[in-house]
């Protein structure tokens, strides 16, 4: 998926003051490109992810997916876009606590109307090395295992864009490295476009391009 952001601006009210987070932010991503966004805390990385996923509306600017403008999409249109074309990976995994690993991974397919998504989810978990943890609940999994389940869930429905927020931020170095290997293997194997927000130089170095978010805009590093 080609991603095009033009002149995005976003401010929030903090008390009576307006806090300008993004200001004229622009970005072009080609299909299959993996871009890292780095920046200090509070620089607006999470806001950028929220805008890309349609959770927040920009005050100004354009968002285009494959040349299709998403600026005036309604909430159900954004929801449909997320369902079909977006995958999310969070720093704290955020698995649904009452679903097993395989059920968590199968969930996006289920929401897309698949009758029996679990074989596919099992296959995905096997690829992620979790074939023996299929029926474990999140609290029975380690951090690394939980993040691998989260990656499986983000990729199972072959989304055209993957957004990841500090995907190894909660993991120790060794586990983080393993998870990262899996994530990049999957992304590159499927030619998926991805935007990864990170503080980690190691993660950033593995991406095709690194941008830094500073003063509300993205700058090449």
């Amino acid at each position: 998926m080609n991603v095009q952001l033009q002149g995005l601006a976003k401010s929030f009210l903090q008390g009576e003051n307006s806090l300008r987070i993004l200001h004229g932010l622009s970005l072009d991503m080609k299909s299959g490109e993996i871009v890292a966004v780095v920046g200090e805390s509070g620089s607006g990385k999470s806001t950028l992810l929220s805008l890309l996923a349609g959770f927040e509306r920009p005050d100004a600017g354009l968002i285009r997916w494959d040349a299709q403008a998403a600026g005036d999409w309604t909430e159900p249109q954004w929801a449909a876009f997320r369902k079909e074309s977006l995958g999310f990976v969070f720093q704290n995994y955020y698995l649904i606590p009452y679903l097993t690993a395989v059920e968590n991974v199968a969930l996006p397919l289920r929401l897309l109307g698949h009758d029996d998504p679990e074989p596919e989810a099992r296959k995905m978990l096997s690829e992620l090395g979790l074939e023996k943890r299929l029926h474990h609940l999140p609290h029975q999994l380690s951090g690394g295992e939980s993040q691998r389940v989260a990656i499986g869930r983000a990729l199972i429905h072959s989304p055209r864009l993957v957004l990841a927020d500090e995907p190894t931020g909660s993991l120790d170095a060794r586990t983080g490295q393993q998870v990262l290997d899996l994530l990049f293997r999957q992304l590159e194997g499927r030619q998926q476009t991805a935007l990864i927000v990170t503080h980690s130089q190691e993660v950033a170095q593995r991406c095709h391009r690194i941008l830094t978010l500073k003063q509300g805009q993205l700058w090449p590093v």
């Binding site: 079909e84 649904i96 009452y98």
Partner: protein
């Protein structure tokens, strides 16, 4: 399908939360639904039995002889040929050589009962009035209750007025009798032909004359309305089977009203629990909700998913609640069996289902819709990042939430009480109690804050930090325990007060007998006879029957029966439709007190004093002019004053009384009270009086009081069950809030263990934090129960309050022990959980 899978997985794997939630809702609805099952079953039975209770399709009755015009109008209105019957009812003394007793005597014609059955123990099949005529002897059927009371058997001779009748049947079934509260005057049947020979109806005697008709295939309601417009005398009552529902159930429906109000407090405690658990559930749903939105659910789809899940939980709760109510209704049936007709069976009505759906799913959805919507429409990343203990609500949503719940609660209260007055008083009392409890809890927290500035031990330091850190939870725990304590303790106090009023320890002031239907010429010989035997008349009052014709020049007409929507309207109609009995006395009796208008001593003779509550019901005020028809003579009088009357004094008192003079010459009977006697018992005095004056009826006051005490005990039994259910639910909700408090603050307790506290010290701390709040709440509840008893005794019953201290101590002990056991159990479980956490580095 995906939604259903998600819901089922969640229900399967979060059993504790959902189990407690379902149980909480189930217990919340049970009390009110049990009461509704009884209400609907009784109404259903009366609907089924209405014709049998009435003994016909339509009746006309009056507390006097029906006149020819009335008989003709009634007969003309009924499609001919119609089967008809007639009865005369009166209280009268029946006696044998050894016993004398007040009975409700019914003289019946051949065809009585037109509908329903009278069955005798010695005879197969149903009997009718005509069966009383077989053979030469005068025959009488007696209620089975009379057999042990008067040691009677078949063939015994019983004196009634001027006749002696033979016991020809003992009644096993009488479908005209509904509820059996009190056996003061068991029923006796004789044939109509014995009415005149018995000479019980003399001038001014109290009796009811009824005419019955069988009118199959006719709209009796329309017929009743038509007769209502033709016959406007307020003293005349036209009754259809539908009216029986209201009339026959008056006593029990009043009790059910009050039980229903207790059920409402239980329900509100349950709602607190349901709301608390719902908020806890929504906190847990934040992460899954955020993920589902990230995966592609729109806010609306997520809201619908959460609503569906909530509905499943609420429906499970009410299904279980319905089942428990049904079992509970059967379980408490033996308590009331003796007061209910034998035909009574418990029925499940669609109205109970509707009530369940309203107080369960609908109320739950109203309570939780606003916070649920807040979660569904919150941005996913904010759901993930925000403090998970909170779901912020806008004031508009809070107003909508509070408004809808308050509206529902007010509507439910009105449906239970059927009275705006009771609804208002109940809601004001409940809100007042909650404000008082919250006020004290607030002062407690302020005192804690002040005390915290001084140096204290670590337990106090941590406990006070917990109270001040979560003031909302502290307040909720105090309110729940105080309301449960209040309800549980108020009922025993009230029972003690009411029974104390009925049976004071000093009964010397109460009369032994209450005599009525004493003819004018009998007063002197009766007084002389009693005096000769050492007994003494304590008070005698003239009793003058009259009809109220006009109020301030406007005709005083009968209120339509059967169309009441509130208890106030029903009272107004009942009081309007009964005849007006007058008296006159020169001075007030000790049980009377003027509360408005002129002083009684200086009241002119053309004025009357009216009992305050009676005046309120009929809308009379001082200065209104009333026109009476006293035996054909019109007398007009203005209301000079309003009086308060202590009806429990058992002195002869009247709603309307003249000073003297104007009624001095009016035809009258007398009501008298006979003082207690050192050597003559009340039954002995009754036999003495009945022997010489067979038309005079007497009530053994002690027996009547015993009877009343029995009724109060039976009724308060139901109230006690309801209040104990409230207490149990209060303890349950308290422990449930506690459980989730402990769970949500698990990391705090882990930290305290890491800092070096032992499990025993943590238990002590938890006991101090939560036990302290329970102690404060239950003590507040105890004080409020005492205050409520005092207030009700002074303002509603106008008597001295009495307190059931042993019951209070027992209830307090049980509550504390239950809370202690529950808290200790949870603390032990948590200690094991914390120990596991400490062993696992991941969890700390």
């Amino acid at each position: 399908m995906a939604s259903l899978n998600l819901i089922l997985a969640s229900l399967r794997r979060q059993k504790t939360l959902y189990g407690i939630w379902v149980l909480s809702l189930c217990l919340a609805v049970t009390g009110l639904v049990i009461i509704d099952v009884y209400r609907q079953s009784l109404a259903g039975m009366i609907r089924e039995q209405g014709r049998k209770i009435l003994t016909g399709d339509l009746s006309m009755s009056a507390r006097r002889q029906l006149n020819e015009t009335e008989r003709r109008t009634f007969t003309a209105a009924v499609p001919q040929p119609a089967q008809m019957a007639e009865s005369y009812d009166m209280m009268a003394m029946i006696s044998t050589d050894k016993e004398s007793r007040l009975a409700m005597v019914r003289f019946i014609t051949d065809a009585y009962p037109l509908v329903g059955q009278i069955q005798l123990s010695e005879r197969a099949g149903d009997v009718q009035g005509a069966d009383l005529l077989s053979g030469d002897a005068i025959k009488m059927w007696i209620a089975a209750d009379l057999v042990p009371l008067m040691n009677l058997k078949m063939g015994d001779q019983v004196k009634l007025g001027a006749i002696t009748a033979e016991v020809a049947g003992i009644i096993q079934k009488d479908s005209s009798q509904t509820l059996r509260f009190g056996g003061l005057a068991p029923r006796v049947y004789l044939h109509r032909t014995q009415l005149e020979p018995a000479r019980l109806i003399q001038f001014g005697s109290t009796f009811t004359n009824s005419l019955y008709a069988l009118t199959p295939d006719v709209d009796n309601e329309a017929l009743r309305r038509s007769l209502d417009t033709q016959l406007t005398d307020p003293g005349l009552e036209i009754t259809s089977p539908r009216d029986m529902e209201r009339g026959a159930l008056r006593v029990l429906t009043r009790v059910l009203d009050y039980l229903g109000l207790i059920g409402l407090v239980t329900l509100s405690l349950g709602w607190i629990g349901v709301y608390y658990l719902g908020r806890r559930w929504l906190t847990l749903e934040r992460t899954p909700s955020a993920l589902l939105k990230c995966i592609g659910l729109s806010s609306l789809e997520l809201q619908n998913l959460l609503l569906l899940k909530l509905s499943v939980i609420l429906c499970a709760g009410v299904i279980l609640g319905g089942a428990l109510s049904w079992v509970g209704a059967h379980a408490v049936l033996p308590m009331f069996k003796s007061s209910l007709p034998p035909e009574f069976v418990l029925l499940w009505s669609w109205k109970s289902t509707a009530l369940l759906l309203v107080i369960g799913p609908l109320a739950g959805l109203l309570l939780l819709y606003a916070p649920l919507r807040a979660v569904a429409f919150e941005a996913p990343l904010s759901l993930l990042n925000a403090n998970p203990a909170r779901v912020e609500l806008s004031w508009q949503r809070l107003t909508a939430l509070a408004g809808s719940v308050v509206f529902l609660f007010v509507a439910l209260t009105f449906l239970q009480a059927r009275s705006w007055n009771v609804t208002g008083v109940f809601l004001a009392a409940l809100v007042g109690c909650v404000i008082a409890i919250a006020g004290v809890a607030y002062l407690f927290l302020r005192a804690v804050r002040s005390a915290r500035r001084q140096r204290q031990g670590w337990r106090w330091h941590l406990a006070s930090a917990q109270w001040l850190g979560r003031p909302g939870t502290a307040l909720l725990l105090v309110i729940v325990s105080a309301l449960a304590g209040l309800l549980a303790q108020m009922v025993p106090h009230l029972e003690r007060t009411i029974v104390g009023e009925i049976r004071p320890p000093e009964q010397g002031s109460r009369p032994a007998l209450f005599l009525f239907d004493v003819q004018e010429e009998q007063t002197e010989p009766l007084t002389a006879m009693l005096r000769a035997d050492g007994a003494e008349i304590s008070q005698s009052s003239p009793f003058i029957r009259s009809r109220l014709l006009q109020v301030n020049g406007a005709p005083f007409e009968r209120a339509q029966t059967g169309e009441w929507s509130t208890r106030e309207e029903e009272n107004e109609a009942r009081f309007r439709n009964r005849g007006v009995n007058l008296t006159y006395r020169a001075h007030l009796s000790p049980s009377e007190k003027i509360v408005a208008g002129v002083d009684y001593e200086s009241m002119p003779e053309d004025q009357v004093s009216v009992e305050k509550d009676y005046a309120e019901r009929l809308g009379f005020k001082v200065g209104d002019r009333l026109l009476f028809d006293v035996q054909g003579v019109e007398i007009e009088a203005a209301i000079g004053s309003l009086r308060e009357v202590n009806w429990d004094s058992f002195e002869p008192n009247f709603f309307i009384q003249f000073k003297s003079g104007m009624l001095g010459e009016a035809p009258k009977t007398w009501i008298m009270t006979v003082k207690r006697h050192a050597s003559l018992s009340a039954p002995q005095m009754q036999r003495l009086i009945t022997g010489k004056f067979p038309n005079v009826s007497s009530i053994n006051v002690q027996e009547a009081l015993d009877n009343l005490t029995d009724i109060v005990t039976k009724l308060s039994g139901g109230l006690k069950v309801a209040s104990r259910l409230a207490m149990a639910l209060g303890v349950f909700v308290f422990l449930m809030i506690l459980l989730f408090q402990l769970l949500s603050s698990r990391q705090d307790w882990v930290q305290l263990r890491v800092q070096g506290l032992t499990p025993g010290q943590i238990w002590q701390l938890q006991l101090l934090i939560y036990g302290g709040l329970a102690l404060l709440g239950t003590l507040l509840g105890t004080l409020l129960a005492g205050a409520a008893n005092w207030g009700l005794a002074h303002f509603a019953f106008r008597t001295h309050p009495q307190f059931d201290v042993p019951a209070m101590l027992v209830i307090l002990s049980i509550t504390w022990v239950l809370a202690w056991i529950g808290l200790t159990w949870m603390s032990l479980r948590q200690a094991r959980d914390i120990a596991r956490s400490l062993r696992s580095l991941n969890s700390v």
